[in-house]
């Protein structure tokens, strides 16, 4: 046991910058949301209006979560919880995989394994670190909520709801680390499970039944399969109940014990999904920069496409539910029309536009990830081996940018196609399927701006490209999701490229903006290709 604590402290030291950034970032987001809601929806009647709309609008329920009363705290929790829980889940899975499967793959666990500690000690240390990190996260979120003036019990329960989801994903990621053979695949699978938890909760909530006064919604059964759904059941600001959080923590403990048993019985480097032998010769595309980029990007691209397909299918498939909810309720229709931009829009259009907007962020993330892979290639020394061949660095970067742009387009097209298919299966002919594919593709130019900005940073200041690349995308996402709510000045909101791509089918396609975004993206790509020749390759 002293060995475990020592190892946990060593792991914490390695994360001494990364974890505080995650924790403070998440707590700050909660604090800012709470302050904004308190000032923006000061009057109870305003909150009742927005909650009333949300309660009958599956789009809101899907994206945000369950309305739970009209108090300020309840509105804050409704607006921010699901998103915050996803962040807590990602923080936890990345933390666990970084210290377990990734270290094992890189051979670092071997040297720890030679010390006089039990075989599962490093894993136990990581579980301890993950639990501690989530405890601090829960306290920070609670402190942020309390500081913004929310009631104490509610703030603590809400913090606990975020932390409990994090703890659950600590255990889940530890299990994934036993299954997958490499750090990268384990990270992808664990993050995919976080996404699935969000989606399951969204589906359950979208099919939830609103109370008579439209201030609360009871979620459907699907959210019972989601830890984020369980956290939401703690209802911090109406009827605070710690039992669902205890259930989550208990489930995490059971999984953690099982994983410790598995780890103490398996070989170092062994995994449930073993590494198989591969091809002896490279395929036709295996001898070019583009072919290599494709080979390296394919598994991740498949992951993004699956996510985009699920999102798109929901956008299309939930269409009838959305329409049914509002049919025959003229006053509600009018209310939504007033609250949602694009006043005359059909409810179904607003819903699909919102989901396809998120698909646009997915597409941008796939592109940014493809560009950032170059940095990993450089840091891990493979670029040195590769760039000793008679091909220019500009071609290397260019090939990867082409592939990144193609990834963006493919992910967007998959989302749009899935939306069109979902819509036609659900029997609603309006909006037409082709329009949905166009709506998804309309986000491609904005997404391309992100990847070309990442490429410029990679070429000019390589050390910064990973935080800046993901930071820009997170900034774009937060501006898109919270910019209106926070009433940020319009020039700040306009910084996000996504603000300039048309939210079809609510807004008409804007060819001038699309061309301008494409031009910016191409200019950035050109600058990156020019600059990459001018710097040293990191050794």
């Amino acid at each position: 046991m002293p060995g475990v604590v020592r190892l946990a402290l060593a792991q914490a030291r390695r994360d001494r910058v990364l974890l505080p950034v995650w924790i403070l970032g998440i707590a700050l987001l909660g604090f800012v949301t709470a302050t904004a809601v308190a000032t923006e929806f000061d009057a109870e009647s305003e909150r009742a209006a927005i909650i009333g709309v949300a309660a009958v609008s599956p789009a809101f329920l899907f994206l945000r979560g369950l309305p739970d009363g009209t108090g300020i705290g309840a509105v804050v929790f409704f607006q921010g919880y699901a998103f915050t829980a996803v962040l807590a889940g990602l923080m936890s899975t990345f933390l666990v995989i970084r210290h377990t499967r990734a270290d094992e793959e890189l051979g670092r666990e071997e040297i720890i394994g030679s010390l006089p500690v039990p075989r599962a000690a490093p894993l136990a240390a990581t579980l301890l670190l993950g639990a501690a990190a989530n405890l601090v996260l829960a306290a920070s979120v609670a402190a942020g909520f309390a500081a913004s003036g929310l009631p104490g019990t509610g703030a603590v329960t809400a913090g606990g709801a975020v932390g409990a989801v994090g703890v659950f994903f600590v255990a889940v990621a530890a299990a994934v680390a036993q299954v997958m053979p490499s750090g990268r695949s384990a990270n992808g699978a664990a993050a995919g499970l976080v996404g699935a938890a969000y989606l399951l909760r969204g589906i359950g909530d979208a099919f939830g039944s609103p109370s008579a006064d439209l201030t609360q919604v009871t979620s459907g059964w699907a959210s019972l399969f989601s830890p984020i759904g369980w956290g939401q059941r703690s209802r911090p600001f109406s009827d605070a109940d710690p039992v669902p959080l205890l259930v989550l923590t208990g489930a995490a403990a059971v999984v953690a014990v099982a994983v410790l048993v598995v780890r103490s019985r398996r070989d170092l480097g062994g995994s449930l999904l073993p590494e198989r032998a591969g091809r002896e010769r490279a395929g036709a595309g295996g001898t070019s920069f583009l072919g290599l980029a494709w080979r390296l990007q394919l598994p991740t691209l498949i992951g993004w496409c699956v996510g985009a397909a699920v999102l798109g299918a929901l956008a299309g498939g939930l269409g009838p539910v959305v329409t049914d909810a509002v049919v025959g309720n003229e006053s509600l229709k009018e209310l939504i029309g007033r609250l949602v931009p694009g006043s005359r829009a059909e409810i179904i259009d607003v819903f699909t536009a919102a989901l396809l907007g998120i698909a646009g962020v997915f597409a941008a993330a796939a592109g940014v990830q493809a560009v950032l892979r170059l940095r990993a290639e450089e840091v891990e020394g493979r670029a040195e081996l590769l760039l000793a061949v008679p091909r220019s660095r500009a071609r290397w970067l260019g090939a990867n940018l082409v592939l990144a742009a193609a990834s963006v387009t493919v992910v967007a097209a998959v989302a749009g196609t899935a939306a069109a298919v979902g819509l036609s299966l659900s029997g609603t002919g309006n909006p037409p399927g082709a329009l949905l594919i166009g709506a998804a593709l309309a986000h491609v130019p904005a997404a391309a701006v992100f990847l070309s900005a990442t490429a410029v940073v990679f070429a000019a200041a390589p050390r910064l490209c990973i935080p800046v690349g993901w930071g820009l995308l997170a900034g774009g996402l937060i501006l898109g999701q919270f910019g209106e709510l926070l009433r940020l000045p319009s020039w700040v909101q306009d910084l996000s490229p996504f603000r300039h791509s048309a939210a079809m089918p609510v807004e008409p396609f804007d060819p001038a903006a699309a061309l301008a975004l494409t031009a910016v993206a191409l200019l950035g790509a050109g600058i990156a290709v020019y600059l990459i020749r001018r710097r040293d390759l990191a050794a």
Binding site: E280, T287, G381, L387, A388, V389, L537, A539
Partner: protein, 303 residues
């Protein structure tokens, strides 16, 4: 473009700083066409930095460097056309098999000689079907070596290439160096393994703290080296120390140890014989002593 007389590599007063660190500090390096050139130095002396400058992967802070008469920073593609490179720390794509890595690297250089590729995989006893993530250090090294040797090049830049190889594989590696030399290629072999350089190289440059401290053929450098004597019996330390070229004399119980210049041994042998000998050990000149001389303290005491 270049005549046979021009050196394949010519670096003059090469300097490279990383922040406050001077990795290269006025390095001169000349490698003639067709020679196998040893590039000796301890860890951190600047060997890898030099190879990266020669490839145009990093830009020298000052100094002039030409490879095949071209500036590798400005014209990397044309330099790389005739270069095969094996980095010191080989990192491969974890989800590609060894065979795919070899095809990728040779393919980007214009394609492997299929017969060579087959023989190399056989000789190095390499399994090309496994994913690179499963390879040991030695196997990653082999993949890079096979990729380098499977397509003929005019210049081979090898950074401590045999560091991860066992003695049998080391023999295979040496035979490949001899093969490409017989084909007229130039090899720059960085190493801190002295026996390797001694067996393979025509000329040697010794680098220390980013500067070439010695360069020449092995025969030329032999003059700088000293033969180590250990004499048991009545040898007189004072008389020995008075002979020019003898250094580091010390009495060690009944034995006397000293180093003598290999060029002028006759007076030494006379003095040893005069004192009476009951036991004599003479360590032959090796690169080891030369090497140690450059990395030991500067007062010339080799040991």
């Amino acid at each position: 473009m270049t005549s046979a007389a021009d050196p394949v590599i010519k670096a003059t007063m090469l300097a490279k700083t990383f922040g406050a660190t001077r990795a290269l500090d006025g390095l001169d390096l000349n490698v003639a066409a067709g020679e196998v050139h040893g590039f000796l130095g301890p860890n951190g002396a600047g060997k890898s930095t030099t190879l990266r400058v020669l490839l145009g992967l990093i830009r020298p802070t000052s100094g002039v460097v030409r490879v095949f008469g071209l500036d590798p920073w400005r014209d990397p593609v044309n330099v790389h056309r005739d270069v095969a490179y094996v980095p010191g720390d080989v990192s491969l794509w974890p989800n590609l098999t060894g065979g795919e890595v070899i095809d990728l690297l040779t393919g980007l250089r214009g394609g492997a000689d299929e017969r060579l590729r087959r023989t190399l995989i056989e000789d190095f006893d390499f399994d090309p079907k496994r994913k690179a993530r499963a390879y040991s250090k030695g196997n990653r090294q082999k993949a890079a070596l096979i990729a380098a040797f499977a397509r003929p090049a005019r210049l081979y830049l090898l950074d401590e290439p045999s560091a991860g190889l066992d003695p049998v594989m080391d023999t295979v590696f040496r035979s490949q160096i001899r093969r490409v030399r017989d084909d007229g290629a130039t090899v720059l072999l960085s190493s801190h393994i002295l026996s390797e350089v001694e067996q393979l190289c025509d000329r040697v440059t010794i680098i220390r703290s980013g500067r070439a401290v010695e360069t020449g053929s092995l025969a030329e450098l032999r003059h700088l080296r000293r033969t180590h004597f250990r004499v048991e019996g009545g040898a007189d330390p004072v008389r020995l120390a008075a002979i020019p070229g003898v250094q580091g004399v010390r009495a060690n119980g009944t034995a006397v140890e000293f180093d003598a210049d290999a060029a002028d041994l006759a007076p030494v042998l006379a003095a040893v014989a005069a004192g009476g000998v009951s036991g004599l050990t003479v360590s032959p000149p090796s690169l080891e002593s030369l090497f140690l001389r450059h990395y030991s303290d500067r007062n010339g005491q080799a040991r």
